[in-house]
Subunit: 360 residues, 2 copies
């Protein structure tokens, strides 16, 4: 582990010993920072302390230079305000998924508050899921704050391995409404349809339905708070989506009507344009190509495949496994830059791999 | 390549030289079956013949015992009817994504027709994307048909490597409406929202939005036909989804109203239940657990990881790569049976791998 001392704040107090709070504590103690812990549940503090995330507050008289508020979203504002009162010199940050409401709720000496949001980890799982390297390589949004406190928070984020992203609270809330909160809603309402599905229908389920519904497994109690807190930014997206569905429904109800098919095609075409706007794996919009390779359903086969790709100097942009019910073989979907795909295909065929078509 | 002769039908005529038709042709010629090809585009026939998928129809006087109709969905019914007339002894099958409309459209000696749908490959990409093993290990739905023709179609499917799934046309259309057509609509309308997104918002895009929108990249021209043909089965799902959105919108518009949060939570909870109904990789509903392992963004690292998993006898149920913009490291999400995850975690840590938390 990296034992470089965190220079920005020598003594940190963490309120909330869930996944994020405990992970921050672990990362800090491993870097030699004095950490104290607090939680409304004494058992949570004990667990986080046992994991090595810091000491209980009563065990020390150290005065924190930074307070990290990592409580559930609905109490963040009041806990930040209380922390500003309790530690009259400290910088206070939070790590909640929604930022405008927190800024609105903070009272007192708010000039010492900086709102942040690490795009890492779900706020579920508690201390048992905590990792000191949870933030490594993850975007960590830093919102409004007064200097020099804000710059020191930025350094702090970098020292924990995060990638600082500067946004104001409004920009942040609008961004996550689109890239995080809307997908959660879409996944949940889509997955709801599966509750009454027949076993026959489920037996045909492929990558499409799995991808669309995956995040629906997230913790409802947490997501109610997030969606309620960011309802202003989320609502326009949900309404626009409903308008598109209304449009599709009217076209599907009379597909022989003039213009009905053009109406459907236009919605689909707009989706093609939208998905191409997503940045590629390396942060730039790029065109990838994929090959499906047939593999035995054994771990050794996949390792052999990837070893060969490495030997050939081919860097995967994405890789997915897929398996049909009842079959003893699987498929590895290899995504690479378009300018590499034909070389990769040739080498794979020469090496005896079977290449399949695209996934349904 | 497997050179076992296909016993069910010694001579096969294929109408439509796209991805599916050409792939079937390739698989058949490699098994020693005489194949003739037909397409409204002479260039498409030439290309498929060059690939080795069969001969042009005019080159032979052989009488097919099976005709495979692999045209775009909107002309399948008329092409099947014409094929029944042209080959008065032959069994005729189609491979379209929607089945009831085809059965309704078929005229003439319909007793010789059996509707089928291989859940493999998108019907785009044409002959250039064709693969003789496209169907290996994939479910292939076989609908109503008279015996003994239907049983021979079933054997044919198995001989091409497919896994026969028996359903009537109504069951099929309802199943794909839910597991294939609804996800396509949801992905398209969600991806449409990204068209006007700011670069800042897109820079925060993680696995959630990518998963939900992935299939939105599919060919709109094809999907208009599929959705229009299956509108009866698709509409109830889209309407139910819109009703859920209406419900969420009204709750989000006044989150402090009595019952509003319970209303949101209930939609989310129903999504959790729905997603758990999806069968696991091996065709049975199973509970998987995932670990995120930090890897260098190089192919060799991932191969080494998978080689070790193989050495330890750990079989992955799913594997995904993830990468944050601007970072030189990536994450491999390893999904295994819940009863294996703690052993895997221990071995990974012992072997020096860094384990991260869950993805956002």
């Amino acid at each position: 582990m990296n034992a470089t001392a965190v220079s920005s704040f020598p003594c940190v107090h963490i309120v909330g010993c869930g996944l994020l709070g405990t992970s921050i504590g672990l990362a800090l103690t491993q870097r030699g920072v004095a950490v104290t812990l607090e939680d409304s549940s004494p058992a949570a503090v004990d667990l986080a302390r046992d994991y090595g995330a810091g000491d209980a507050r009563e065990d020390t008289s150290a005065v924190p230079s930074l307070v990290v508020v990592a409580t559930p979203p609905d109490v963040v504002g009041s806990v930040v305000s209380a922390s500003l009162r309790a530690f009259p010199e400290a910088t206070v940050i939070d790590v909640a998924s929604v930022k405008k409401q927190v800024y609105a709720d903070v009272s007192g000496d708010a000039a010492r508050f900086v709102g942040t949001h690490p795009m890492a980890g779900r706020e579920r799982g508690g201390a048992v899921s905590a990792r000191s390297d949870l933030f490594t390589g993850r975007p960590w949004v830093i919102c409004e704050g007064e200097e020099p406190r804000r710059s020191r928070v930025r350094e702090f984020v970098q020292e924990l391995g995060g990638i600082p992203v500067d946004m104001d609270a409004t920009q942040h809330d609008e961004a996550v409404a689109l890239v995080s909160h809307l997908p959660q809603i879409v996944a949940s309402v889509s997955a709801s349809r599966l509750g009454s599905a027949t076993p026959a229908a489920l037996s045909l389920a492929g990558a499409g339905i799995r991808d669309v519904t995956r995040v629906a497994a997230s913790d409802p109690a947490l997501w109610v708070q997030i969606l309620a807190a960011n309802s202003t930014a989320v609502l326009p997206h949900v309404k626009a989506l409903r308008a598109d569905l209304d449009n599709l429904i009217s076209a599907l109800e009379n597909t022989s009507a003039k213009g009905a098919r053009a109406q459907i095609a236009s919605r689909l075409q707009s989706g093609v344009a939208g998905v191409s706007a997503l940045p590629g794996k390396h942060g730039v919009s790029s065109e990838l190509a994929s090959l499906l390779v047939v593999i035995d359903d054994t771990p050794g086969q996949l390792a052999r495949l990837l070893t060969q790709l490495g030997d050939w100097g081919i860097n995967l942009e994405d890789l997915r496994l897929e398996h049909s019910p009842g079959a003893n073989i699987g498929f590895a979907e290899l995504s690479v830059s378009k300018n590499v795909v034909s070389v990769m295909e040739q080498k794979l065929v020469e090496a005896g791999w079977k290449i399949s078509g695209e996934t349904e």
